[in-house]
């Protein structure tokens, strides 16, 4: 049992602090024979990397990943893969003045209350930099999935940011990779950008919603009752910094529906069962139906803002906190590749688990 580990057979343990020498992930349970190169992982890290455009933090980190073990001649060997990302742009002095202060909305106070010691530089272990390690591990998961379910695709995008919300009638998969917000609507990008820049200029930040979809997931992965695919997805997403809500399929809105509306009717298609709708988000009883697996999560506004907020020092005296540093006005944006990585890790884990539990899909239909 490790508080810093995630997954069952494919198990990822992240380590490292924002301003220590390095951070990374110990990845255990990757099947052997998966082609893995640093470049493959770098591709996903670059997607998450800060400093790329004016909508994210200006901190410049190359986030170059090194593979220290578990890969031999370009292939996984089945032994633990150690991924290391060295921290290079550690402007610790930005944080020196907060060593005795608790920033509202940050884990400063709770880490202190729990441990009585904290690496206060850049949030230490609670920094969003930890998610770089997840993205690298997710890159491994994506490669390993290919050998088991070659058509499986995992795609994340934003669906809302403060007052902005996507128009699903204009949904365009192709647009997602073409804009800084990962939204599926090229026509909305300018409005989102104007909105965010206005917030930034007013020394504010804003929350967002990320949706991650896995297509072509085989039916029958997942498990009752606590090892459900949706249970693991909920945990995976809620474990990301700043996430406050997780939805599967219809999500919270399921509470408003009636049973007749919510039923995903079943038909026999050419290649197996098909469904008239996907309120379930591709999961019934914790097990995949073969439909798209749809997960959505809300990211709270960045707590580090230039607007002064009331707080206290360690000695209990009051203070007004203004967080200088370099911060994302909407951390939700950079949570997109993180959500994708978590989806990839959970799905690989359940693909492997299914083989261990059952060996192969058992029940035939039609």
């Amino acid at each position: 049992m490790s508080m810093n580990s995630f997954g069952h057979l494919f198990r990822v343990t992240t380590w490292g602090e924002s301003h220590g020498p390095a951070l990374g992930a110990t990845v255990d349970g990757c099947p052997p024979g998966v082609p893995i190169t640093p470049d493959m992982l770098q591709h996903w890290l670059d997607k998450r990397r800060p400093g790329q455009n004016k909508n994210t933090t200006q901190r410049q980190e190359p986030d170059a990943v090194k593979i220290l073990s578990g890969v031999f001649e370009g292939q996984s060997t089945g032994t633990p893969i150690q991924l290391m990302i060295e921290n290079t742009d550690q402007r610790s002095k930005d944080y020196g003045d907060i060593s005795e202060t608790f920033r509202p909305g940050h884990a400063d106070i709770t880490y202190w209350q729990k441990y009585g010691i904290r690496d206060y530089r850049g949030g230490g272990r609670s920094s969003a930099r930890e998610t770089a390690a997840r993205v690298a591990a997710g890159g491994i998961a994506r490669e390993a999935i290919k050998a088991i379910a070659p058509n499986l695709e995992i795609t994340g995008y934003m669906t809302a940011m403060g007052e902005m919300e996507i128009d699903r009638s204009r949904f365009d998969w192709e647009a997602i990779d073409q804009n800084d917000f990962w939204i599926p609507d090229a026509g909305a990008v300018q409005e989102w950008e104007n909105y965010l820049q206005a917030l930034r200029k007013s020394h504010n930040s804003v929350g967002g919603i990320v949706e991650v979809v896995a297509r072509n997931v085989p039916a029958g992965i997942g498990a009752p009752v606590y090892g459900k695919l949706d249970t693991d997805l909920a945990a995976a997403m809620m474990s990301i910094n700043a996430v406050k809500g997780v939805e599967i399929g219809e999500g919270m809105a399921a509470a408003r529906l009636t049973g007749t509306d919510n039923a995903d009717e079943i038909f026999m298609g050419e290649h197996g069962p098909e469904y008239g709708s996907n309120h379930a988000g591709g999961i019934l009883g914790g097990i995949s139906t073969g439909q798209d697996v749809v997960v959505r999560f809300a990211v709270k506004p960045t707590s580090s803002i230039l607007s002064p907020r009331k707080s206290i020092r360690k000695d209990g005296t009051p203070i007004e906190v203004v967080t200088k540093g370099r911060h994302d006005p909407c951390v939700g944006i950079r949570a997109v590749p993180v959500g994708e990585a978590m989806m990839a890790c959970v799905i690989l884990d359940h693909l492997l688990l299914h083989r261990g539990q059952v060996g192969e899909n058992r029940g035939k239909i039609g």
Copy 2:
């Protein structure tokens, strides 16, 4: 690793099917010396028990719990506590005709696709009856919590059901235990009842939202990064049958907020830090702040309805499914004690973990 287990140091494994001889929970990690009697657990089981009023299923199950191990002379011994609830009202014939059929919205089809065999009677393992075992285990957690955090209180209630929604300005803790819906507003009960009975008469069902609050939780429990208190709560709630979304504090609505709105400002109170608001739901960086821990989850409408829905048989031929049996028009109602039980289990687990991780709260403020 067990797919049917939950928790770290306080570990609950549920077992059993809806229409087998019995179901129950193997509870490991309860500290020694906790007073436990069947009556204490029965109190919570009775709260969840079906057949009590016209708003829930008419299935009559005494749900009498037996303690088979781990309790000696009225006290826990530190060894596994086996809880058994015998199934007595198993009208299996209600289900015989569905052995070859997949009910929309149910796990019938996914269990079949995964395992190639399923106990189809009443949903088998995927039945909501499994939650009786959780409620019994939660009763043990509640007793064990008393020895560690005597003032800690866990209370669940509904906040929405289809078109119904509570008016938070009329919130009344006392009302919760006085009505069939566990809503905190006695004045709204009649309207909720009329609404639900109309749905039932039209052979329909509806979803609902349950909120569970833990008050007087000590600051400093929880852990980074995957063993967060909110991660474990999200998993716990999502693992309950029919749950499609989980929120902590502000939840999905956090996406709409700005950083200045969302910041819970900190002040020094007489007994420690106090907060100007609780958008965070009592958790920062996965660790409790000492504020109320607030979790909310959405339960989809009961899938078993008398209105015909299109589906297929195992052989792929089409069929219209009408689920007779005896079903709750809103399973969300009976999810209230289940959500409370899961909250109790998670909080006890983290109280115990904290002692193992740190020994005692370390960081002093003021």
Copy 3:
């Protein structure tokens, strides 16, 4: 994490005390479609059952196992299998006088020192009765193994008991099931019986060594570095009551060998690699070679003896303890089916793990 659970994908949690209402095992991870009936399990329980001959305790327990869940129409469903054995011959009064006393060699004193409460009746949780649950679970593992490795055979036998030791030149597999000591030499049985009866009459007991062999284990199961097949076997055997030593292959004697003696030379046989010897006990680097997997463990003499031993009461005052009750003069005998059960559980677990880790044997030779 449960202190009372064992295994990774095939996970067994035992529960229950010697003199409570029942004891049993929660078995999670059995693959679906395995034929399981109470009779199949009873076969192995009867092998372990006390009261069968004068060489074991005269306590009469039918040890009838009930299957409460996870089996439908004679087949496993993939959900948890709950096995319950009711305690019927609970002569608790035999134990009443020891509630304030610590018996030498028993866990009385350590349970008290750890928990401050103990079910003193018959050793409570530390009673060898707990092993009945293991044997039942092992019966399930044996059935599940058949579907994956049909020729795999697991056989246990004694190799030593006090001054008695088998003559390996007279080893006879057929003899094992034909005598009360499970020794592979029919000609030695009378001598073993005379020896044990003399010890019993002198109010004494004696230790023993059990060897368990698994034949036709596929090459390639197990894992580096802490999840080794031999690591799990060592843990499994050491977790059995009264076991003080575990050996794989050459065991402790490996310390006396030179490298040239110890090397198991490799040859190419008709169906794959063959070995000139099996000092390794069928495991290299934690992974099976395809040779016989050979495990040996020592069981200490029964601590409950009629000869008086010096001890103290809970209040610290001295006492002479004579354990009346009904006890085995050599618990090693009844440890044979327990060792077999543990071997079956570990091997099934690693067969399942291998599928989850790799999918199929990968490396071809020749």
Copy 4:
């Protein structure tokens, strides 16, 4: 679940291969506030380090450990501690000719049979170099133990090596650190050295027995039934490369004893219970008695020897293998600090677990 992790609350995951860029350990669950510097860990690594004298391999590795995370201003923070040891003396060419060959007694063949790919350089993941990571992690465990049980001492030594065996009547704790074999008898060192050098010159190797003793372990740590202190110790030691047997207290010899001989009689001492003997090795029912915890394990002879042994190539053709490289004539010697490290990890883990399970020692005596 990770196959490369060990421990419950104090959880160590090792990673890395013999000839990759680095190896190390991810250490999770170290309590906060423990003073940790690289020097503290280096002390133990130097004890294990090769190339120090003619009795161990001449491979020169500085084995310098770097701390990449989890330590802030010289103290543990409660977050994962990443320990990295870079490989510097990788003479891979020594191994090139074995890429297609299986060395007898090595994991070459089983890794290949399991994974179909292996890093053959120096044994890859199955190399004894992996134990350097354990020793580093054990150094952290030792420091963390000090804060909980300040008088606890862990000491390992050899008791046998081939035909050599210590004379317990000459046991001298002070001598252990003064000789290359870690034997508790200065007078025997020359004989051991002559014996080993003769073996080396004859191109042979030999096995050994290591005993590790923990003194001043508090009574009451450990747990029934699978999480026993001795179960975890057996697993810990058996997981070390080349270990073939593990004993607690009397060990395998318990099989020869009678109940009257084996009983450790109990007396009331000034500070609590005392025992007339320690056949149990300090553990009853899986829980510590407060006596010395005594573990012994056998290490097989080094399989890499200059004497030719018969084997096969990957293609099945026969070959005679002579392992050149630089190897220890008795790996048992360098297993001493490894055994100590494993003991430290297990004991810290159970000290932490005890707090989580019980909170404090509960049962008072006298």
